[in-house]
């Protein structure tokens, strides 16, 4: 299988403001969010980054998506480095999180066109992609309704469509089912599986075991910025279920310190 994503020993330390120090209840103003983390992802797979709150999942995905820079290490996306070729990387990936919002004032149609233009997509290509995605998510009938008037589920589906305007080969999805009802969540996870069957590479982050068990091919467990386990889901859950595996590792990791 072709290796499309190479995370090579990345790390990120945040400097906390006084206010953040109080919130996090620490005395030091440094917070190591990602610590010497490496993993690879291959064509046509869903890779799950599993970890508790504050483990460093979002930070990792943001580094891969070029939104923030790693202090050290590098990420190669289809051979392009996030350090030196951020622009190229952005063309190859679609980044999505429930924190990414669309402007309330515009309609799905307008936003799709707008983001297509920013990605430099030809008109023909755009119409094709729009029809495909709008049909897939049933956005078509709301194409001229302002985002403000769409339901949360429809908004999420629209964000998904918008982040795929350029038909990227690599999709990074932070907490894909966060805040969604079971029906919308299923639409999203089914769609991710569909994308996989098209040969796309998908990285998701989550703290939900069942989601990983349902859709992921490989899983990396991340605790305190470390990748503590990384393997095929099948191999990892050969003897115990994912939850037990996680807590075994977790008690070891936390107990060590």
């Amino acid at each position: 299988m072709k290796k499309v994503l190479e995370i090579k020993d990345i790390g990120k330390t945040f400097t906390l403001s006084k206010k953040q120090q109080k919130l996090e209840k620490t005395k030091t103003n440094k917070k190591v969010a990602v610590d010497h983390l490496s993993f690879d992802a291959y064509e046509g797979e869903i890779f799950g980054l599993l970890g508790p709150n504050g483990a460093g999942k979002t930070t990792t995905l943001r580094i891969i998506s070029t939104l923030i820079k790693a202090d050290y290490g590098d990420v190669l996306v289809d051979g392009k480095s996030v350090k030196n070729e951020a622009g190229e990387v952005r063309k190859k990936i679609g980044f999505l999180t429930s924190e990414l919002k669309l402007e309330d004032f515009f309609t799905p149609n307008y936003l799709f066109d707008f983001f297509s233009t920013l990605h430099g997509i030809s008109l023909e290509e755009k119409e094709k992609q729009k029809k495909k995605l709008f049909d897939r998510f049933g956005i078509g009938e709301f194409a001229e309704v302002k985002v403000a008037n769409l339901s949360t589920g429809m908004k999420q589906k629209l964000s998904l469509a918008i982040s795929l305007v350029h038909n990227p080969n690599i999709i990074i999805f932070d907490e894909p089912t966060n805040g969604l009802d079971v029906i919308t969540a299923k639409v999203v996870t089914d769609f991710l599986k569909e994308l996989r069957s098209e040969g796309k590479t998908i990285i998701i982050s989550t703290h939900i075991f069942s989601l990983v068990e349902k859709i992921c091919d490989r899983v990396g467990i991340i605790i305190n910025g470390h990748m503590v386990a990384c393997d095929d889901l099948k191999t990892m859950t050969a003897e115990k279920n994912l939850e037990d595996v996680f807590f075994d590792i977790y008690s070891q990791e936390v107990g060590d310190k």
Binding site: L67, F95, L102, E103, F105, F114, T117
Partner: protein, 394 residues
């Protein structure tokens, strides 16, 4: 560059399709200013004209013919008669009680005495005027008559004449009056409108997008941060200029009404300026908006929310107002270096254009330095958009 256009187009679409925004930034300023200024003008006018409608009541004892002729044309109600001593006392009582305005008493055979009288020889004929300085109309008519009699006296004495020919002695032109008034108030007003116009769009567009998380969606596309910065600045500037123009129209249409209150003699008209003057003014306004918008954009991008942005920018408003007030003192600064100071240079340059003291080199320095400042600020804004610390804090 294409991405810049895409951003500008989106921002303008956002603006022009939003009825509420359109009304509050484009229509309301013009209407409010027009109504406010017209109202102020009418209020001043009616106050000044109050005294005109009132007809003062003047009692005259034994009016001489010459004086009678003098007073017939004026709008004074004259009660002419030979009054007895008691009646005269009663009239004085009325003046005290503000029921009558004035009592005029002439010395006997006034006209004849005046004709015969030679300066310094014997008793001079006299006029007595009883009035009440606590009563505005009484005091006004007293002053009017006093100066009337004084000039009458100087005419009949006729030692020399002052400005007696039929000529225009006050050489002020409408152009002078207009340019003086405009150069004193317009720079300040324009700056105020520009600032509040910028204030109404910049924080919302930048901190707002940051607060709602929509800017992050843009940052994951291949658009360059500099393109985003330039696109935002250009579109916000266009909107701010439109809004400022709206306010400007309000001022220009209401100024005649406002100044109309000051009297018919002053006719103020914006037509005293040539096309070239308007063009220079527009250039100054446009580059000033660029400077203000880019400063506000930087402050807004540093803020976490629209509210925080507004709080940060408000003190700036006071500084800008204070700078703006300097135009009210007239004199245009001619030192070339002050035209390097942002905002102040715009105020001075606008003042110089409006008062016909144009120095092209100063205006050039103003425009060029404004553009340079804006470019510098856009560079900073790009840096900020690039900074994960600012764009992705929690």
């Amino acid at each position: 560059m294409k991405n810049v256009l895409t951003i500008v187009k989106k921002e303008l679409t956002r603006f022009f399709k939003d009825k509420r925004l359109l009304i509050t930034t484009l229509i309301l300023p013009a209407v409010l200013i027009y109504v406010l200024y017209s109202f102020m003008g009418t209020a001043i006018f009616s106050q000044l004209n109050n005294s005109d409608e009132y007809v003062p009541l003047v009692y005259v004892n034994d009016i001489p013919n010459s004086i009678d002729n003098l007073l017939t044309t004026s709008e004074i109600k004259l009660e002419k008669k030979s009054y007895s001593l008691e009646e005269i006392e009663a009239i004085k009582e009325q003046i005290t009680n503000q029921e009558a305005d004035l009592l005029l008493i002439f010395s006997d055979d006034f006209d004849q005495m005046v004709a015969e009288y030679q300066t310094g020889l014997g008793d001079a004929p006299y006029i007595l005027m009883y009035y009440n300085s606590g009563n505005t109309s009484s005091y006004t008519i007293y002053q009017t008559l006093e100066s009337l009699f004084n000039s009458y006296e100087s005419i009949i004495a006729n030692k020399f004449d002052i400005n007696m020919q039929n000529d225009k002695f006050d050489l002020v032109t409408d152009e002078n009056v207009s340019s003086m008034i405009f150069s004193m108030i317009l720079p300040f007003l324009i700056l105020t409108f520009l600032f509040s116009a910028c204030m109404s769009v910049a924080p919302e567009s930048i901190s707002g997008e940051k607060e709602r998380g929509t800017i992050a969606t843009l940052l994951v596309t291949p658009i360059k941060r500099s393109e985003l910065a330039i696109g935002k600045i250009i579109s916000l500037s266009i909107i701010a200029i439109l809004s400022a123009i709206s306010s400007f129209i309000g001022v220009v249409t209401s100024i005649p009404k406002l100044l109309g209150g000051l009297g018919e003699d002053i006719s103020v008209s914006a037509s005293v300026y040539a096309f070239k003057d308007y063009l220079l003014l527009l250039l100054i306004i446009m580059t000033t908006v660029l400077v203000i918008i880019s400063i506000m954009a930087i402050l807004s991008s540093l803020a976490k929310s629209v509210k925080e942005a507004t709080t940060i920018i408000s003190p700036l408003m006071i500084i800008v107002m204070l700078v703006g007030i300097t135009s009210m003192f007239g004199n245009v600064n001619s030192n070339l270096f002050v035209y390097l100071i942002p905002i102040y240079n715009s105020i001075q340059a606008m003042g110089s254009i409006l008062s016909f003291n144009i120095s092209y080199i100063n205006i050039l320095v103003t425009i060029v330095s404004n553009v340079c400042y804006s470019l510098l600020f856009i560079y900073f804004l790009t840096k900020i958009f690039n900074s994960e610390k600012i764009m992705f804090t929690r």
